[in-house]
Symmetry: C2
Subunit: 411 residues, 2 copies
């Protein structure tokens, strides 16, 4: 009688079509991170041992003491009013602009912001212009909406760019220490792209999670700042700016935000309501208390020297061991070194298998490319592990490369 | 020069098509709740003055002390392992079944579970069989996927039901104290629907947020329990069960969960990763500490007598003042009284305008109907306000009804 009435799983209804085109690589990388003997250079995770635990403990007490039951309610869809005001005040001070809470919506990390932007702006077949290689999470977020992509060339020499911008729902960019390449886009390129976006009448998503990780000096102005400098007064510009405390404090609060024109914020709020009613008011109240006390700014003073040391340790060991096969620029901030195989001689999708055997993980370039065709680079993280672990990871990578090359020679 | 380079908002790209079909009523109701002179009988909110604030304060300290930096990380997409285990253990104990953490995924409230189910199972034009009137949040969650609907008649007398079940991606039900009607579905109807679902080879979503609000005795077995009683062994059934701490503890932690067959959980995890990477590990650790200490169960002993008193106060005053025009069953649990206009003589979409003038809010029936055609009932909440406020709300409703009827007579 057991299972007599059960239907085999395979006869149940099929999944939505996008599921079959999804990758589960990010999940694999996250789970590798949990294996104790694996050196994971794959994730985009901060150093857990640096988390300001005591400050968060104190902030969570203040959250309930100062915000009371308001920290335990559903709360407004757009988020805790005090935190929206604080973020509006900060960006107004930083840019000289005039932002109000109506320009700010809080999200479950900046990742949810990407999901909501897709929900609000994209129907199947719509065009997104994106830098490429690009953040794999952004491609994941938009896959359920089935968009098309056009690659943004930051030099803006692409003769079809203007036409594609006019057709696009939005442009996606990570100008500060881009994921995956670590590149800091020049001020000239930012200004020139903004001008083209305004001419074309489209939106520009400026995703800025790494803003606080300024290892070798300041980032310069955000694209949002460029816009505001030209257009003072209440903000109604085309830049959709995404921020988060995931890199400046901790990811586990899942507090991110969108800064945008007020009508777009209202559409995003409709999408957010249909996604989860609201994010946690409790973690937003904790984040408010932390930002109000400038814990993110004081925490940067701890994080930055540690991350600089890690970046240097990784790049030093890599220069010794990997430079026969890979080349890279030392990034001036962020979390990643982007290593490109010389002469496209190493397929990193293939190398990955050998790396896992040597118990080291990275992210192969193909997942950052909407065509999946770039198979000759890898993203290597330097923030999560201590310098000596990073050096060990590089030694394992060298062995993996040698094993890969030996296997290539054997028919 | 100000705004010289700004593009008028209206020339920017259009929103996705579903946005224009969305309703902003829920947002209106939530915001009415915040007006101090409005008596809102509209929301589905617990009584804030009953929130176990001290227990949550203590639990948030234990969360960091016991879980350390694991409570501050991105964490696994599926949620904090300890809380998944606790929920699997609880449901195994309650049903006699055999559930593991692989059957459990944590979500940002049960609302996100609805969003993820839509993302994973529904392509445009796919069929959902749903009880109707139904939870407006479920209709909101699925609108971006553009489904079709067929109404579930709980008597199962609908001759087209079997055919529609075979075509449907899933059936949506709220058997315990349904939203909006407050109905407790009989054990016989639950068992009979389950049998039909198994025969048809589809999924059945059992949304159970009000489970703990048992004002007049136990709910009886969940549909999940019915399935497990017939099918012991590791769970692989068609029931997708949704739980939450939003009504049993507080909504502001945004901790809900899905219990389902393990392969479906994996697809839902892909969808969740593309939505927000993970929910907050911090609030999940707080929820773990609360459930581990059985705070939800002790809290029920405080909540239930208070909610019973409120329900009775509302129904008593309504019997005195509203029964010439409306009729209702006193609900045996949950949060709502569903009041239906006698002889469909009052259009509650129209009445709503008069109610707002008298500073009282309810939810008109049209928003719970996927066709929007049921305009002759209203959902009235009894948990959020003290008994005397509920009575005042009913008095205002009476005035609104009289004003509405007077206006009907004036051509």
């Amino acid at each position: 009688m057991s299972n007599a009435t059960a239907t085999p799983e395979s006869t149940r209804p099929a999944s939505a079509r996008w599921i079959s085109s999804s990758n589960n690589l990010t999940q694999q990388f996250l789970s590798f991170g949990g294996q104790p003997d694996m050196v994971s250079l794959a994730g985009g995770l901060p150093a857990a041992e640096l988390y300001p635990v005591a400050a968060i403990q104190a902030a969570s007490q203040r959250a309930l003491a100062n915000h009371g039951t308001a920290a335990l309610e559903y709360g407004p869809v757009e988020g805790l009013p005090a935190l929206r005001q604080l973020i509006a005040d900060r960006v107004s001070a930083e840019t000289g602009g005039s932002f109000s809470p109506a320009n700010v919506m809080l999200t479950t990390g900046a990742m949810q912001a990407l999901d909501l932007i897709g929900k609000v702006l994209v129907d199947a077949g719509d065009l997104i212009v994106t830098q490429s290689p690009t953040y794999v999470g952004a491609l994941d977020a938009w896959r359920p909406r089935s968009p098309r992509y056009h690659k943004l060339d930051w030099t803006l020499h692409d003769p079809s760019l203007d036409r594609n911008l006019r057709e696009a729902k939005f442009v996606y960019t990570v100008p500060n220490y881009s994921n995956p390449t670590g590149v800091l886009v020049s001020q000239e390129c930012r200004a020139a792209l903004l001008e083209k976006v305004i001419e074309a009448g489209t939106w520009l998503v400026e995703d800025d999670p790494y803003h606080s990780l300024q290892l070798d000096g300041p980032t310069g102005q955000t694209i949002l700042h460029h816009y505001v400098a030209q257009n003072p007064g209440p903000y109604a510009g085309p830049v959709i700016y995404l921020g988060t405390v995931s890199k400046s404090l901790v990811p586990g609060l899942r507090v991110g935000w969108i800064i945008a024109e007020a009508n777009l914020i209202q559409s995003l709020a409709v999408a957010k309501m249909s996604s989860d009613l609201s994010s946690s008011m409790f973690t937003q109240a904790v984040a408010f208390e932390l930002l109000h006390a400038n814990v993110d700014r004081t925490h940067a003073a701890t994080m930055i020297p540690a991350y600089r040391e890690r970046r240097d340790a990784l790049c030093r060991e890599a220069a010794l061991r990997l430079s026969p096969w890979f080349e890279w620029e030392t990034p001036v901030g962020g979390m990643f070194v982007w290593m490109r195989a010389r002469n496209n001689a190493i397929d990193t999708n293939e190398l990955y298998r050998f790396a896992v055997e040597e118990k080291v993980a990275f992210v192969p370039s193909s997942v950052f490319d909407f065509t999946g065709e770039d198979r000759f680079a890898m993203r290597v993280n330097f923030t999560r592990n201590a310098p000596e672990v990073l050096a060990e990871g590089v030694r394992r990578l060298e062995r993996a490369i040698r094993n890969y090359l030996a296997a290539q020679k054997t028919p």
